[in-house]
Symmetry: C2
Subunit: 190 residues, 2 copies
């Protein structure tokens, strides 16, 4: 029964490298937890009085889900500029234009250095659909302030972005309640 504890990942036990730098973090894959883990990082960083912002590329600008409500209570800016498009959308050109405009703002926010953590939520989709060139994104990441962390979430992260990133996690779906006839629960999934 009793297995020996293997390695641990808590900061107490981190040995080795001592380089400090801002990280580019990518949460991708088909599973749950990509945006949710980015929220968790925002919460941690906010707990350390770091300045954080989340720019949401897909969620509708009128979204008022759990994360928007929490952010408001915490004084964290969560700016949604998408139009909530889905594969059923009629007007993909408008979605593309919105994403491009939002990215222009995001570049300024990144370059300004005002925030220590910048989350680009569901940003992989406009990259995957070819609305924003990935080279432009990598250029903006390369020239960003040295200690700034940038977190990008969404499925289908482009290879060049994965290549450039420091920390990449794939969220893999093992079991999903939709498949068992249970709907998305408020406060949990949105």
């Amino acid at each position: 029964m009793s297995t020996q504890p293997t390695h641990r990942e808590s900061p107490q036990s981190v040995k080795g490298p001592r380089i400090n730098k801002g990280l580019v973090i990518v949460n991708t894959g088909e599973g749950k937890g990509k945006t949710t883990a980015a929220l968790g990082v925002l919460m941690r960083a906010w707990g350390r009085d770091m300045k954080v912002i989340m720019l949401q590329f897909i969620k509708h600008s009128t979204a008022n889900f759990g994360e928007q409500r929490a952010a408001q209570k915490m004084g964290i800016t969560v700016r949604a500029m998408g139009d909530g498009f889905t594969w059923r959308s009629r007007n993909l050109e408008q979605s593309a234009d919105l994403a491009r405009a939002h990215w222009e703002d995001a570049k300024e926010i990144i370059a300004s250095g005002e925030y220590q953590v910048v989350v680009l939520d569901e940003f992989t989709y406009p990259l995957h659909y070819g609305w924003i060139p990935v080279e432009d994104v990598i250029q903006a990441l390369k020239s960003r302030p040295e200690m700034q962390h940038v977190i990008i979430t969404g499925r289908h992260a482009p290879e060049a972005l994965v290549e450039y990133a420091d920390l990449v996690t794939e969220m893999r779906l093992v079991k999903h309640p939709y498949h068992q006839g249970i709907k998305a629960q408020p406060g949990i999934e949105f």
Copy 2:
């Protein structure tokens, strides 16, 4: 370049099943984001004025990382009762005793129905090491209040727990900054 958007996962587009129930969620795997995604759910639920609690089974009771600091600012209880053990620990019996005592408290907290979301952080470790019987855990989950969500995090989730859970995500490490000589960054990883 332009790929057609495929399916989306936002709540707007969820079709089909309409069953409401508390979920048992397991975040497991070798990658990052297991605890972090649980924090993100706490933040969302807190944003919706739900009552939430996180019980940490491994982190030392004196831990004061980003999540503890954030929780304090938000008025969320994060109770750490571990002794921060690692594979180098001398006194695993003490770690086991602490975990078992913490689980007794956790059972009461779950049964009380006082919280709508209960996170059992790094709880898979005492299960994996055989310190707490998984049957006891599943029994407590089965008899919990119907609408209560329970989130369990950690590597090596026991098969019986995965079997019982509603939503299971495996966080898979694609690329990790430690491997490139970059240390754990405050506000991001802890």
